[in-house]
Assembly symmetry: C2
Homo-oligomer: 313 residues x 2
């Protein structure tokens, strides 16, 4: 029976999460919702908060309220690294998903205070041994690494924008990361390889210690010097809003590793089960709502279900 | 260590395979080949021949030579049910795959002697306890079932053509089958459900004892009253010709079940590993070439690799 709380005497390591905080307006084929608390750092932090202490770094604007902060605080997230910039509103994104959620359009995007965001770490965060770099500009991701005082296990995510516009900076960054997480279309864009197995092998040769290629409803594949691991997705039947699924996956994945203070091949494989199940909650409601309201036992139940789903015996 | 030959004293049951035999001209982004021995019955039989005695039912025309028959005989396939119709040539198909193999066009199709094909079973085949109904007209598939003398485990495949033109006959057929195998786009077409989990559940409600939805490079999902099972595809890096992959999957799957004389949930899951690995060989060369030349140990090695690929521990 999988449990979120390690049964041995392991002391969970704290996790540093760096990324955007946003308000999103989301339109789906079924519904529409405004002013959703989102952004990579929010999803990553909510997801990771089930596993370990999260230290969050981001920026919010003058429209960010105590109620929003309280949602994060309620999950025990340390907000010392979240800067309030009252010169303007919070990063805003508006998007629309098309039928079957297989395509989305950005209808509006306003960087607002995020435009001048520079992730300077509070000194108390600089010893973080687990670090999640959300999909911000690769030069900013590198700036975070430069402030770390010791050896860290670093997970980095990216988006197609940086592959297209900041390829060199991105290639420099991924040489320094422990686990590079990317989706299948981005992996093809970065490597020029449409075969996901070959794309994963090429990415490994680019320098990261390990790579996960996410395939949405088709699961994810881990590439590691000790082997490959393919995991189907959790069988979601109530898809309401896929926004933040990848960030939730990344947050739960490294949160689980930090909670066990382990980073080996077996630990990453095991953490992928928790990551997949945690992300499956995110997509069942708008924003972080479902993720936030789920309890430990709900995640553990899903991990049990997923284990059965992939078990041959 | 997986082995093709059961280690216990189980006597493999013979397998009846019914379907088309064809000559194919195939054009891929890399190459082109003519007069490839193909058709569902050929791929199914070659694949199943690694596991058990195959009884093949089909029709060939006046262009079908001894060399072609010898290829099938060399795999120990019983050809008593293959009729030679010298009134015309063998079923012919010409197709072209586009970049990345994600789409194919039929350039030419000539039914020839297949147009009047009626699968009448030799009396010695009527006691077959394992039956594979290739993707022929559902009324012909039903005609095979009507000739069986006892209880059989029946696997049926179909294609989009019958979903579009013979829906009622297809729905009548699948109520009688033990395992209905269909790809994801056909499953959506038949059920109207784009979510693969919901589509699988709907298909189960239509009457078959179990259902497998194939997702190509993304693997396959089994729906069964005892549970679900999701299996990633074997990590193919040398894709040359996907023709016959689904037929090879079906042939190896039921061949494996027949070889163990088992049809329970666990046996179907285990057989899916062999099916995936056998189909992975087919796509590495034109036609049945790679499948035909592979030995037992090559399939067993792939099953070992696949087991490691999906193993969390």
């Amino acid at each position: 029976m999988p449990t979120l709380i390690p049964s041995d005497s392991t002391v969970p390591a704290p996790l540093l999460v760096v990324g955007s905080v946003a308000f999103d307006n989301v339109i789906t084929p079924q519904a529409e919702q405004e002013r959703i608390l989102g952004g990579a750092a929010s999803y990553c932090s909510f997801a990771a908060s089930y596993y370990t202490q999260v230290r969050m770094v981001g920026v919010v604007g003058n429209d960010f309220g105590d109620a929003d902060l309280d949602r994060l605080r309620a999950r025990g997230i340390d907000l010392d690294g979240v800067k309030l910039d009252d010169s303007g509103p919070t990063f805003f994104w508006k998007g629309k998903y098309h039928e079957n959620f297989n395509r989305r359009d950005t209808l509006d995007i306003r960087l607002n205070v995020f435009e001048n965001f520079r992730p300077d770490l509070p000194s108390s965060y600089q010893d973080s041994s687990f670090v999640l770099l959300g999909n911000i500009h690769p030069a900013l991701q590198m700036h975070v690494l430069d402030q770390l005082s010791g050896e860290s296990f670093v997970l980095a995510d990216t988006i197609d924008l940086w592959i297209e516009t900041e390829r060199e900076a991105l290639l420099a960054l991924i040489q320094k990361v422990s686990l590079f997480v990317i989706n299948d279309s981005e992996a093809e864009e970065l490597t020029g390889e449409s075969n996901v197995v070959l794309a994963g092998e090429k990415l490994l040769q680019m320098g990261p210690k390990s790579v996960i290629i996410k395939k949405g409803e088709h699961g994810a594949i881990l590439f590691h010097k000790d082997g490959m691991f393919a995991l189907p997705a959790y069988p979601v039947t109530q898809l309401h809003d896929p926004t933040g699924a990848g960030d939730s996956f990344a947050g739960a994945l490294i949160g689980r590793l930090a909670s066990r203070n382990r980073t080996d091949f077996g630990a990453i494989k095991e953490a992928m089960l928790f990551a997949t199940c945690t992300a499956s909650l995110t997509v069942e409601a708008f924003g972080c709502d479902r993720l936030e309201s789920a309890g430990h036992s709900e995640i553990e139940d899903r991990v049990s279900t997923l284990q059965k789903l992939i078990s041959v015996a």
